[in-house]
Structure formats: structure tokens, C-alpha cells
């Protein structure tokens, strides 16, 4: 469908939020104590965070919660099993383009092969109102992953800040329906206003920290398996196996399944899991194909970057949101590892001598994951 545009005055946004909050739970970035920004339910525009880059936890938490009950079971004469479904209608307001891209990635994962009904139901009840980015954050690299600074698809509505108002792009029937339902709040968009939105990427690009990125090169190296073992060993040695990268990553979806019994009845739940953890691949007999941390790190970056997945899903496994940069305590986030793949992929310059790491960088770095 051809994109339609409207505008909404900034001082009418509160009316919109109030109205939407009657129809569904409106989740928007809210600033909490100590400066955390997290998606929380709001009823007014005032509650929403003003100058945020992005939330600390990705919106996947609403499609794939950290702990999700799947079914309850109980035993009468025999076992009976009832699925547990979430019926909440949600409007995710202020979702960033990178997270929209991530959501589309997850949509593909969860609808492939055996469609996941829990994800599908939550997703179907979720409306995405995106907000384009005017100022990239320090750690953002969405442009490398083709997922920003504005979304091209996947949103129901997308807002772009203008002067005293917002340009509204309608991206779906649901988006159209919202605009129609609250028609009194929206106005037509002029051709200048639309052009402003079309110029958005050009305008924002120069503000990114890095003029170039080595993302494409990293994808090539990983896909052709030309990253040396020493580098993975180094990355694995720095890794604390905390799992943080997976938890904050908007495209990570691996989960563990646990039964919580209560006598002869109970609930089966799924919870976030991480391939960083040793137990992720350990089998009951004790055999663990990825016992070494370097193998697990290798796996993570393969899964995020290898071309195979780009082919299979048509999208990048990493959307450049930069959350791993903040989350990782060991300095081996995506940008850092991409950089050091460039520098040390050949395997030279990194060596373990007498059990101590020796780094010899031709570019004068004392450490391959050092950020320039």
C-alpha cells in the first residue's frame, strides 16, 4: 500500500496517548530512578521519557517475556493440560527503528517451521508506533545493519519530529485505523513536511560516531570462516559468561523450559536463556559440545553475522542498537569484536605466552577490543 502521511501537533499527543490508553496498554520509554529508561505503561504523554536514545531492555520482552507460563497441568484421574495465553492488547509507543527491524526478525523466526502460538498471539495484539531517531546514541550503528535511523516497514505508525508537530507515516491497516478512529487529532501533511521525512536519513547520517564501519567486512569474514582461533580464544577469555548480551539483545530469542510443580499440578514456563552460558549445550550425560567459552563466543557472533541467516531471514541478526556495548562488562560487544576481527582476523598479533595474553597490534592498540 502506498504510504500515507499525516501530522499531529505536539500538544495533541497527550490527547492521543490518553485515548489510546483507553483501548490498550500503552507502553512507552519511561525514565526511572537512576536514569534507567524502560518500557512502562503510561496514560499521559508527560510520563514518557523525553530525550531518550533507547530503552535499556528491548521490546522483545512483550512478545517473549523473560518468564512466560506456557501451560498449566493438573492430575485428576489422568493429566489435564491447559494452555495459558496472554490476552493483553499492547501499543508499543516510541519503539525505535532498530527495534522494529529486530521485531521483524523475530517474527520470521517464530513463524518459521512450527509457528509459535504464544509469540504469534502477543505479536498480533501488539501495535507498533515507532519514533525515528534524530540523534544517534554513542553506541548506535543501525545504519550498518540496515535498520535505521528510520524504519522502512514493520511499523503501524511511525513518527518523525518536526517543528511543533510530528509527521505520521501510516504503515499498516491498523495504523490507518488508529488515525481514522482519532481523526480529529490528525491533520494533513504538506509536501515539505513529507520531504523532510524523506531527507531524514541524509540529515542524520553525519551524526553517527563512526564514518565507516567494518560490519560488512565482519559478515564476510565470519561467513567464509576466516576468523582465527586465537581471536576467539582471546574473546572467550575476556567473556564472563554472564549472559547479559543475550538478555539485552533485541534479536536474541533462545529460551529454556522449566516445570514448576506444586504437588501433582504445576506450570511449565519458558525463560530467557543465553548461549553464553556453559549449560546451554550441555547434555544430560555431561557431554558438552561447546564446553569452551571461545566456542560459545564464536557461536554467538556466527549466529548474529553469518550471511546464511541473512539469506534465510532476509534480515541482519544484529540491528545495531548498541545495547550490548553497555551490557557487556568485558568489552567484547558487537562493535568491539567487529573491530578486532578487522585487526586480528588473520590470527597474527594475538598470542598466549606462558598463560598470559600478548597483543601486538600494527595499529598501536594495546588491546584488540579497545575502542578508538
Amino acid at each position: 500500500m502506498a504510504v500515507e502521511y499525516r501530522t499531529i501537533a505536539s500538544n495533541r499527543l497527550d490527547d492521543l496517548i490518553v485515548a489510546l490508553a483507553e483501548e490498550a496498554q500503552v507502553l512507552a520509554p519511561v525514565e526511572r530512578a537512576a536514569g534507567d529508561v524502560l518500557f512502562s505503561a503510561i496514560r499521559t504523554w508527560d510520563e514518557m521519557a523525553r530525550d531518550y536514545v533507547n530503552t535499556d531492555l528491548p521490546p522483545k520482552q512483550f512478545m517473549l517475556p523473560q518468564v512466560e507460563p506456557m501451560f498449566r497441568y493438573h492430575r485428576n484421574k489422568g493429566y489435564e493440560v491447559e494452555p495459558v495465553y496472554d490476552e493483553q492488547q499492547r501499543i508499543i509507543f516510541g519503539i525505535r527503528p532498530c527495534d522494529v527491524s529486530a521485531m521483524l526478525f523475530l517474527d520470521l523466526v517464530f513463524s518459521a517451521d512450527f509457528p509459535d502460538v504464544y509469540y504469534a498471539r502477543r505479536r498480533q495484539k501488539a501495535t507498533l508506533v515507532a519514533m525515528t531517531c534524530d540523534n544517534p546514541g554513542e553506541n548506535c550503528f543501525c545504519t550498518c545493519a540496515d535498520s535505521g535511523p528510520a524504519a522502512e516497514e514493520g511499523f503501524d505508525l511511525q513518527l518523525t519530529r518536526l517543528d511543533g508537530k510530528f509527521l505520521v507515516e501510516i504503515g499498516s491497516e491498523e495504523g490507518s485505523s488508529i488515525v481514522n478512529r482519532h481523526g480529529n487529532l490528525f491533520e494533513a501533511a504538506s509536501s515539505e513536511e513529507i520531504q523532510y521525512r524523506l531527507d531524514h536519513e541524509e540529515r542524520v547520517m553525519p551524526k553517527f560516531k563512526e564514518a565507516r564501519s567494518y560490519f560488512a567486512q565482519a559478515i564476510r569474514r565470519i561467513t567464509t570462516e576466516s576468523v582465527g582461533d586465537d581471536l576467539w580464544h582471546y574473546v572467550g577469555d575476556r567473556c564472563l559468561a554472564c549472559g547479559g548480551c543475550s538478555y539485552v539483545c533485541p534479536t536474541c530469542f533462545c529460551f529454556n523450559v522449566v516445570d514448576n510443580p506444586n504437588g501433582t499440578s504445576g506450570t511449565r514456563c519458558r525463560t530467557w536463556d543465553s548461549c553464553a552460558l556453559a549449560g546451554f549445550t550441555r547434555m544430560a550425560g555431561g557431554h558438552n559440545p561447546r564446553k569452551q567459552k571461545q566456542d560459545r563466543r564464536n557461536r554467538r557472533f556466527y549466529h548474529k553475522l553469518a550471511h546464511y541467516y541473512i539469506e534465510k531471514y532476509g534480515r541482519h541478526g544484529c540491528v545495531g542498537c548498541g545495547r550490548c556495548v553497555l551490557a557487556c562488562p568485558a568489552g567484547i560487544d558487537m562493535p568491539a569484536v567487529v573491530k578486532n576481527m578487522r585487526e586480528f582476523a588473520g590470527g597474527e598479533g594475538i598470542r598466549l605466552e606462558n598463560g598470559l595474553w600478548q597483543i601486538h597490534s600494527t595499529r598501536g592498540h594495546t588491546n584488540p577490543t579497545h575502542q578508538e
Partner: protein, 275 residues
């Protein structure tokens, strides 16, 4: 949309002790319709739930040609399998599946079939073997080379006796270490290769057993000229969903639960990860 995570209920009928830590469970789905419509291929597996404990992937060891019930041969290694071992006939379990790709069956009709099994590796292969024996005329020569550490660790002893005397099957068994009663071959399973004739042309080898046996058997087969795509095996991984979602069974870009667990050797030999 079907909820693939909701198990059907199965009832344990007979439980037999196979080895010290291995039992076979004969199961029928509680709902008669479900049991009647229960179809699977050899090499596929089920996600078996012990409610309150968890779920584990277990391959089906009975043949798809036998319909009234199905059999799971289970070694007690973890919480779910140990819980299963503590159950009695009449107890209920959860069943999801069948999942996985299964062994090629129709595709190998008209060929010679060589089975090489070690220890409990015979369990998933038995499903295929019995199915082939039930359709004997569709296959040419069928050979089973089976080895275990010692006579007490040979699985399916009743079947073995039956198969020894079966005309359409060449069965050779061996043990690493014999006991007083053992009359047969002594040595690892690769020592059986020289005791039978295998013609390379139009032959498929199905191999299943512990990793170290697997390595030596592959070596033996390659030395005899088998091509990688003529060798078929089945992989095991930690699984939590069986439907390609939870991510645990991923090897490179393959899911063992979707693209496997049955793989030809050429599909897995280059995988970066340890098999």
C-alpha cells in the same frame, strides 16, 4: 494455529529392563483417535514430558509399521530420564512430536543396507531395521554389525536371538570384553567388517553409537570406499522445544531438531563444531 508446545497424554503400558540403566517403555496415547492417527518415521524423536520434572527428546525405537503402540528405549542419565525410570505401568507422560527428519526409507529401497551399531545406538536403528524387515522385498542385502562393551551391555537380546536365525538378515555381534558364556566375536565393532562382504555399489550405511565408535567406523567405511553421502547417522543434542525455536540444538546454521537428527556424513563433517 496449533499450539505445538502442548503435549498429548501417553500411558505407560509395559516397562522392561534392557540393561542396568536402560529400560524400554511401551507407550500408547491415552486418546484412541490420537493413537490411531499417530504416524512417524524411523529416526524421528518425541519430546517426552514427566510433568513437574521436565521434557527430554527420545528417539522412537519401535517400527512405524507396528501401530498399536510405540516403544521408547531410555537410558537414565538426567532428571527426566531418571524420573521416567521410577515410573510404573499405568503412569502417564506427555508426548509431543514426532519431530525431526527421520531416516531415509523409500529413498534406499532397492539398495544394500549396512547397519553399524554400538551399545545403545541400536535403539533408533532398530526402528528402521524392523521396518525394513517388515518390507523385506523392497531391500536387497541387509547386514547388522553390532558391538557392545561386554555381553551384559548388548541391547535387545531377545531381538538379537530372533534375528540371528532370520534368513533375510546377516547379523554379526561382538563384544570388547567377553564373559564365560560368550561364544561370539570378541573385539571392537570394526573387527566385524572383515567377516562379511559389503559391496559398495548401491549401498547405504547407517551408523549409530558413541562418539569414539563413530570415528573409527567412519574411518573404516571411508577406507572401504564409502562416499560421505552414503553414510547416514543421527546426532544428539540438548533440546528444549524440538521445533526449532529454543536455540539449544543449533549446530552452525542447522537445527538438529529440524534439519536432523538424521544427517549424512557429508552434511556434518565440515560443521565447525564438535559432533
Amino acid at each position: 494455529m496449533e499450539n505445538v508446545y502442548i503435549p498429548k497424554i501417553g500411558t505407560l503400558r509395559e516397562i522392561s529392563d534392557e540393561l542396568a540403566d536402560v529400560k524400554s517403555f511401551n507407550v500408547r496415547l491415552r486418546d484412541q483417535n490420537e493413537q490411531e492417527n499417530f504416524k512417524f518415521r524411523s529416526g524421528q524423536f518425541l519430546e517426552v514430558s514427566v510433568f513437574g520434572v521436565g521434557e527430554a527428546p527420545i528417539s522412537i525405537s519401535s517400527s512405524p509399521s507396528r501401530h498399536a503402540s510405540f516403544t521408547l528405549t531410555v537410558k537414565a542419565v538426567g532428571s527426566v530420564t531418571n524420573a521416567l525410570h521410577a515410573m510404573s505401568p499405568g503412569d502417564e507422560i506427555g508426548i509431543r512430536g514426532p519431530y525431526g527428519n527421520g531416516f531415509p526409507f523409500e529413498e534406499v529401497q532397492g539398495k544394500d543396507v549396512l547397519f553399524v551399531a554400538g551399545g545403545i545406538g541400536l535403539a533408533p536403528l532398530r526402528s528402521l531395521l524392523v521396518n525394513m524387515l517388515d518390507h523385506r522385498s523392497d531391500f536387497r542385502k541387509i547386514i547388522l554389525l553390532y558391538g557392545a562393551r561386554n555381553p551384559s551391555e548388548l541391547l535387545y537380546k531377545e531381538n538379537l536371538t530372533e534375528w540371528e536365525n532370520l534368513e533375510g538378515l546377516d547379523l554379526l555381534a561382538t563384544v570388547d570384553v567377553a564373559d564365560d558364556g560368550w561364544q561370539g566375536n570378541v573385539g571392537v565393532v570394526t573387527t566385524l567388517f572383515s567377516k562379511t562382504t559389503i559391496s559398495l555399489e548401491n549401498c547405504v550405511a547407517f551408523v549409530c553409537g558413541p562418539p569414539i565408535m563413530f570415528r573409527f567406523v567412519i574411518k573404516e567405511l571411508k577406507e572401504r570406499g564409502f562416499e560421505d553421502r552414503q553414510i547416514v547417522s543421527t546426532l544428539e543434542r540438548y533440546m528444549k522445544c524440538g521445533v526449532g525455536k529454543c536455540g539449544h540444538c543449533c549446530i552452525s546454521h542447522k537445527y538438529v531438531c529440524l534439519d536432523g537428527p538424521v544427517f549424512t556424513y557429508d552434511e556434518i563433517k565440515d560443521l565447525q563444531e564438535e559432533v
